[in-house]
């Protein structure tokens, strides 16, 4: 009989644990990134060479949130690859060589390292290309992060919208919402979990108040409401998310209990 009580206490304790985990940590440990779809469009039957090429691509991206499909269609001049996310076309690629940088880039690697090191989030500042606007927004972001009690566990990364090296990442970020490509304003994407990007703050929305709300979101206890309807969009990344470092935010909250959300 005593064993039954012990089991009930242990199960109760385990069930209560997820509710005290912060949003950023819970998403990193438990969420599965949404998958991108890479389609190989072709008109004629697949040759052995193409089959071999596609299996090499699958092997190359086996740790990425992407899957490959082949689709036979009439009236295609030349076979090509197309990347989709949620039925939205992201980019088209003429051959395999163009695909190599699809799931990785220097900034993506840097962001993944920060997230795996236990950082609360990475604030990715996507510049508009208009110096005056970019400087103004960046100043607000840096000031807000510096003045936040969680500033030491937040990394700010700047990204030029016209960067050729990061063109894939820029394209994916601008597809987080349907209208972003048409907006020539600086944007702040909160990146958390296994490379998930929140819908961005942009233009006058880049304010200290809104950045603090973003940090409040990441440091909140992960409620079932958030788990069931997780905001943001997964970004394509080829990497290993096993064994991340303990979330650094917990140390800050343990040392400053008044920062705990009520």
């Amino acid at each position: 009989m005593k064993l039954v009580y012990l089991k009930i206490i242990v199960i109760g304790a385990l069930l209560s644990l997820p509710c005290t985990t912060k949003v950023s940590e819970w998403v990193l440990l438990n969420s599965v990134p949404d998958k991108y779809l890479l389609v190989y469009f072709h008109e004629n039957e697949l040759t052995e060479e193409v089959k071999q090429q596609n299996s090499e691509i699958e092997e190359l991206f086996h740790t990425s949130n992407i899957f490959l499909k082949t689709l036979q269609r009439d009236e295609i001049e030349k076979p090509y690859y197309a990347l989709y996310f949620n039925n939205r076309l992201i980019t088209e690629y003429a051959d395999k060589e163009e695909l190599l940088a699809i799931a990785n880039s220097p900034i993506r690697k840097k962001i993944a390292i920060e997230l795996m090191a236990g950082k609360l989030c990475v604030m990715l500042y996507l510049k508009s290309g208009i110096q005056e606007k970019d400087d103004k927004g960046l100043k607000v972001v840096k000031k807000s992060v510096a003045e936040s009690p969680f500033g030491s566990v937040v990394t700010v990364v700047e990204l030029d919208r016209k960067s050729t090296e990061e063109a894939q990442l820029v394209s994916m970020l601008l597809n987080v919402e349907s209208d972003l490509k048409e907006i020539a304003e600086p944007m702040v994407f909160g990146i958390f979990g296994k490379f998930r990007a929140l819908e961005p703050l942009l233009a006058n929305g880049i304010s200290q108040e809104n950045i603090n709300l973003m940090l409040n979101f990441f440091t909140a206890d992960c409620s079932c409401l958030i788990k069931d309807n997780l905001p943001g969009v997964s970004i394509l990344f080829n990497g290993n998310w096993d064994n991340p470092q303990t979330a650094l935010v917990n140390k800050i909250i343990d040392a400053n209990p008044h920062l705990e959300h009520q």
């Binding site: 233009a203 809104n210 979101f217």
Partner: protein, 74 residues
């Protein structure tokens, strides 16, 4: 999460992200059910029904003893 933003006239009227408005309005946390006081008439009903039962019992017993006594007097 819905990716597409709803239509808007200018950048100033573009809606804020849902995660932000939910966080601002406290909708991301579990909302305990609000308890509202309802009008409670159970005490009145209980007192009235008790009174009615007592009255009926009194009437029945009165008639019973009156009849019984009448018979014994005769």
């Amino acid at each position: 999460m819905e990716q597409d933003t709803i239509r808007y006239d200018s950048l100033d009227t573009r809606p804020l992200p849902k995660w932000l408005t939910d966080q601002r309005d406290g909708l991301n946390t579990y909302q305990p059910q609000k308890l509202e006081m309802k009008e409670d008439r159970s005490l009145q009903i209980s007192l009235i029904s008790t009174g009615v039962v007592i009255l009926i019992t009194l009437v029945i017993l009165t008639f019973y003893f009156l009849r019984k006594n009448k018979k014994s007097i005769k």
